[in-house]
């Protein structure tokens, strides 16, 4: 399905409030949304959500022949898929620009930073090595898929355990998890990505942009860092011009966020470990919240409107209120009460500047100009009679 373009009103509104350092969901420009990390019952599956953006990562392993150039190293594959359930514009199988970019950034962040120790994945040099495959699926896109995906991938890799192997001469035995405990991967460091979105020619920036904010951004900077202050990946994209100092400023901000996130991952891993050792049930089913849409509306919305005396009957009013609430919980800005303008008409908040009057004046101006032109043509040409009816036909 083709993407619905963002309307000019919404675009202007977003740019205006960003210039005032405010955000639609009330966050500070450098705040992240609520981050949740949940592990599945299989080793190596992890789901991370940044607010409403949800990403699922799964790690699996297989024995295969190594690359010719590096016979003593295992292989790491990273694949990011934008599932059609994530956003109406995602299509099955089509490799859009966005998906290529996401894949390349994830590849660079995980593979080229050498975060996983590949030499320990070697079984027989030159013949058999472990190939570890990370499959990341974006389940719901509400902005900032990359940060979410990087955390999911790293957490999944840290959670994953591969089967134990014994090599006796030419024989290789892969033990099942019943025979011997599986072994976790050795991870040197955790490179995490932080996305900065720039607006107004690079003057204002936001961390963790939401989907609407992403649509109006002029450019993005992605910084992949680990908690040892090493920058693993840096990329500036978009149609904007930056200064060197901005880059350095952002790396400092990114470091703070990365440390926060790394602690969160370690905490989640520790919790999962203790839950498993205690024999408690673990997995997605236990840790996901239930999201149920009911017709029971929150009392607030209905009360606010009933305060103003609307001349319309209360039945139809509450009916329309009900519809509004079922569509989805809408957060109204605090301090904005509806203003009744006329019979059955109320305004909440302020609208954009009305430009119709300007448009009318412009059209009038054009018409005046045309009249003058027609008059001069009439004088210049010989066929004066013919041009007059033409002029009147316009107006």
């Amino acid at each position: 399905m083709r993407d619905v373009p963002i309307s000019n009103c919404e675009r202007e509104f977003l740019l205006a409030i960003i210039a005032e350092k405010k955000r639609v969901d009330g966050r500070q420009p450098t705040d992240l949304r609520q981050v949740k990390i949940q592990f599945g019952s299989n080793f190596g599956s992890c789901e991370v959500s940044f607010g409403k953006t949800r990403v699922l990562a799964t790690v699996s392993s297989e024995v295969a022949a190594p690359k010719q150039r590096r016979p003593n190293e295992g292989i790491l594959f990273v694949n990011v898929e934008l599932s059609p359930m994530g956003h109406p514009s995602f299509e099955q199988g089509r490799q859009t620009e966005e998906s290529v970019e996401l894949n390349r950034l994830m590849e660079r962040c995980l593979k080229e930073s050498r975060c996983v120790d590949l030499e320990s994945l070697c079984i027989v040099v030159g013949e058999k090595v472990w190939t570890v495959r990370v499959d990341v699926t974006v389940v719901n896109q509400d902005g900032n898929m990359l940060d979410c995906a990087s955390i999911a991938a790293i957490a999944a890799l840290a959670h994953f355990k591969r089967p134990d192997v014994t090599v006796k001469g030419q024989e290789i035995t892969i033990h099942t998890s019943d025979e011997r405990d599986p072994i976790p991967l050795s991870i040197h460091h955790m490179p995490l990505c932080v996305t900065f979105a720039f607006f107004h020619q690079g003057k204002f920036l936001l961390i963790d942009p939401q989907e609407r904010e992403e649509r109006v951004t002029e450019g993005k900077m992605v910084i992949g860092m680990n908690k040892h202050r090493e920058i693993c990946m840096l990329q500036v994209t978009g149609q904007m011009l930056l200064h060197q100092d901005k880059v350095k400023q952002c790396t400092k901000m990114a470091f703070v966020k990365v440390v926060e996130m790394t602690e969160l991952i370690q905490e989640a891993l520790a919790n999962d470990k203790t839950a498993r050792s205690k024999g408690e049930k673990c997995g997605f089913a236990m840790s996901s919240e239930k999201e149920i849409n009911t017709t029971v509306s929150p009392a607030k919305l209905v009360e606010d409107v009933s305060k103003t005396d609307l001349p319309m009957s209360s039945d139809s009013d509450s009916g329309s209120e009900q519809e509004m609430v079922e569509a989805g919980p809408q957060e109204r800005p605090v301090g904005d009460s509806p203003k009744v303008v006329g019979k059955g008409v109320a305004i909440i908040g302020s609208a954009a500047v009305k430009k119709w009057e300007e448009e009318e004046e412009r059209v009038k101006g054009d018409k005046k100009g045309k009249k003058k032109k027609e008059a001069s043509v009439k004088e210049a040409s010989v066929k004066g009679q013919q041009s007059r009816p033409q002029a009147s036909a316009y107006f």
Binding site: Q95, E97, V100, E101, N103, R104, R108, E112, S113, R114, M221, M225, H228, R229, E230, I231, C232, M233, L234, Q235, V236, T237, G238, Q239, M240, L241, L242, H243, Q244, V247, K248, T251, K252, F255
Partner: protein, 248 residues
């Protein structure tokens, strides 16, 4: 690759350069008759051709036309004989697609796009020999081609790469230095205002070393700009003399 020293004790690199020295740059404008603008650049052993067509009507239906800007269409292609091993897919694989996107974004930010609404500018880049710094040479070649085509730009776009070996920042890395696994920072700037149009960095680098590497790369861009500017002025002088007008 073990055993290959990228920086000797005396401060010389593998090809005998000093850390702050660029490779030899040779360039020519106006190499094709058909294209509106074209250029050829050699940076050391990396050889890149660029051709620009436009501005012209949008191909592929009116749906793709933008009402207020020009559509910048790029294509980055590597010849099959350009690398050590024969390349099976000259274009269409992930890395080429990524390069195409980066080139498109770089030039979208530099061309004065609001001057040609409902039109399209095509930039075709072909790498004939790849010896490191492919993106940089492509950007430099495309800049020259755009100047040759007479398309208004905010400024020259010059790109340069820099790396970090043994606590020294190196500029303009060749293929051997790139593939040794050290860090590589690729930057494209507008030299006069020192603004960054594109920045990409791979592999681990400590935050404290970032400024040194960035400064070295930006200095590299300024050096490239000097070379390109001289080449453009010479070309314009020659053309003017050929037409018979006064070059001044």
């Amino acid at each position: 690759m073990a055993g290959v020293e990228l920086l000797s004790d005396q401060g010389f690199r593998i090809d005998g350069r000093r850390p702050h020295e660029l490779r030899k740059i040779e360039c020519r404008l106006g190499v094709f008759r058909q294209a509106d603008g074209s250029a050829y650049i050699e940076q050391g052993n990396t050889k890149v051709l660029a051709a620009v067509y436009g501005p012209h009507e949008v191909r592929g239906g009116r749906g793709k036309a933008l009402h207020d800007k020009v559509v910048v269409n790029c294509q980055y292609s590597m010849a099959t004989f350009s690398t050590g091993e024969r390349k099976r897919r000259p274009r269409g694989d992930r890395k080429s697609q990524e390069m195409t996107m980066h080139l498109q974004q770089t030039f979208d930010a530099t061309i004065l796009t609001t001057l040609y609404p409902r039109s399209q500018i095509d930039i075709f880049v072909e790498v004939l020999q790849a010896d490191g710094g492919n993106y940089c040479a492509s950007v430099n070649a495309a800049t020259l081609a755009l100047i040759d085509a007479g398309i208004p730009l905010k400024d020259y776009v010059c790109a340069s790469s820099a790396g970090f070996v043994r606590d020294t920042a190196l500029v303009d890395m060749n293929h051997l230095e790139e593939s040794s696994g050290g860090t590589e920072l690729i930057i494209a700037t507008l030299p006069k205002s020192q603004q960054i149009v594109f920045l990409e960095m791979n592999s681990r680098l400590h935050e404290d070393n970032l400024s040194a590497v960035m400064d070295r790369a930006v200095a590299g861009c300024t050096d490239v700009y000097n070379v390109l500017d001289t080449a453009v002025r010479d070309h314009v002088g020659e053309t003017a003399a050929a037409i018979g007008g006064d070059a001044a």
